[in-house]
């Protein structure tokens, strides 16, 4: 019973996290072949485990969308049928004929890639339009950001710059002085935050990922 309790405890994943973090740090500061090889093995293992997780993802998709179909969830269930059908189709053809087979390739190029490109192109326009729509002045900071964005846009508009050349100087100054300064400060403080966070993980004080 005691052994079972130990196996189920959070100490094992915590120990794995700490050991792996130590090796990753060691590889950076002490890049000897033995350390490098161990670190490489650990990275390979992480890739393998992540690949196994794809199965979990597929199982989750099947579970959520089967429930939608079973419950006839309003406006969703027909799409759930399509999703499961597509999932099984790709999986079936991939397993039976292999992913190099022309049938799989045809489905990928004429199905997935076209849809992906269509969504991507829609999104590219949406980024611009939604940016204008969402840019309402809600605070002093967002107001300042919008003013800077306007100067930055003017700076990149040759027609405006040819009429008001000083706007280019203002835009460049905003970009090179306050923007660069703030960006560097943010990078330094965030980097320190990341290091402190990693050290807390290494010392076993950060355990949210273990469900504690």
């Amino acid at each position: 019973m005691m052994y079972l309790a130990f196996i189920k405890s959070k100490q094992i994943p915590l120990a794995i996290t700490v050991i792996i973090t130590i090796f990753m740090l060691l590889e950076y500061y002490y890049p000897e072949p033995i350390v490098k090889n161990i670190s490489k093995d650990i990275r390979d293992w992480s890739v393998i485990i992540a690949a196994f997780a794809l199965g979990l993802g597929a199982a989750n998709l099947l579970r959520v969308h089967s429930q939608n179909i079973q419950r006839r969830t309003k406006d969703i269930w027909p799409f759930s049928i399509l999703l499961i059908f597509t999932l099984l189709l790709f999986f079936g053809i991939g397993v039976i004929f292999g992913i190099e087979h022309p049938a799989y390739n045809w489905l990928y190029v004429n199905g997935y890639l076209i849809l992906y490109s269509a969504v991507f192109s829609l999104i590219s326009f949406y980024v611009i339009t939604s940016f204008y729509r969402a840019m309402s002045v809600r605070s002093l900071e967002s107001g300042l950001l919008i003013v800077c964005a306007i100067f930055s846009m003017f700076r990149n508009t040759p027609a405006v710059i040819s009429i008001f050349p000083y706007l280019d100087t203002i835009g460049s100054w905003l970009l090179d002085v306050p923007n660069a300064g703030v960006e560097r400060a943010a990078i330094i403080t965030t980097a320190i935050g990341v290091i402190a966070f990693s050290l807390r993980v290494l010392l076993g004080r950060e355990r949210a990922q273990l469900g504690e």
Binding site: A50, L56, V64, M135, L145, T190, G193, E206, G211
Partner: protein, 259 residues
């Protein structure tokens, strides 16, 4: 030789940081008073957002961000820490929770966090595995899926804390369209901060993200870690000023030394 000196300097800097953190941890463990963290309105607003969702009878959406556990893990882990708090609140208040996942390896982590939060709240029966939804490993497919969920299920609160790039504006715009209260947060490395700053009602900036769990749990040892981080920041600032002065006055210094 130059590389070796650089490495030694890096190890020394890390050793100083480890020393400060360990010192603060030991002090906090011995019961010494820890400093208070300044108010972080985005984290305070989570309670308000979930309360609003309960009143409206609409779900809460939490995105775990776009990074994996194998790279960009720190932001995913911060999102996990916030999810722990959000799940605790939804379990206690009875709000519906939807967590969307981009990378499948994040799925079991999110499932465990939400399940434990519901068990801790004494409502294990309210936990449903379908609360956590893996959408796609592809960036734009995930965004399309998350936007669809937000708009179809009319979420009342949209929590976007983690690693986001251009998709942050699409997710927050989808939230704006349905009138969701939005809380964002990013470290800034993904170029998402400007988008989140203008689109969300509240936003965690840069290193504020990494103080999230300490702030939410009020754990003295976690707060001691944040305090150590601030001391180290002052140390780095001091080094920057010394470096700047040396750079500016090197010629002058050489002249004096040569005399």
């Amino acid at each position: 030789m130059h590389c070796l000196v650089e490495r030694i300097a890096q190890v020394m800097m890390l050793a100083i940081f480890v020393f400060v953190i360990l010192y603060k941890f030991i002090k906090a463990t011995s019961g010494a008073p820890v400093p208070t963290i300044r108010a972080l309105p985005p984290l305070d607003a989570i309670k308000e957002a979930i309360g609003r969702a309960v009143e409206m009878g609409r779900p809460v959406h939490h995105s775990m961000g776009m990074s994996q556990l194998t790279s960009g893990a720190s932001e995913t882990l911060v999102s996990a820490a916030v999810l722990e708090y959000v799940a605790g609140l939804t379990a206690n208040t009875g709000a519906d929770l939807i967590v969307t996942i981009r990378h499948p390896e994040v799925l079991p982590v999110a499932q465990e966090i939400v399940r434990v939060a519901y068990v801790k709240a004494g409502k294990p029966e309210a936990y449903k595995p379908s609360m956590i939804r893996y959408l796609s490993s592809t960036q734009w497919s995930y965004v399309a899926g998350a936007m669809g969920i937000m708009q179809r299920e009319k979420v009342a609160a949209n929590i976007l804390i983690g690693s986001f790039a251009a998709e942050s504006i699409l997710l927050s715009e989808a939230g704006n369209r349905i009138g969701a209260m939005q809380i964002g947060g990013g470290s800034g490395f993904g170029g998402n901060l400007a988008f989140l700053a203008v689109c969300c009602d509240y936003c965690l900036y840069a290193d504020e993200m990494y103080a999230a769990r300490a702030y939410l749990t009020k754990d003295p040892i976690q707060i001691a870690g944040i305090s150590a981080q601030d001391i180290y920041k002052l140390f780095v600032l001091g080094l920057l000023i010394i470096g700047l002065l040396l750079y500016r006055y090197t010629d002058w210094l050489y002249k004096i030394l040569s005399i």
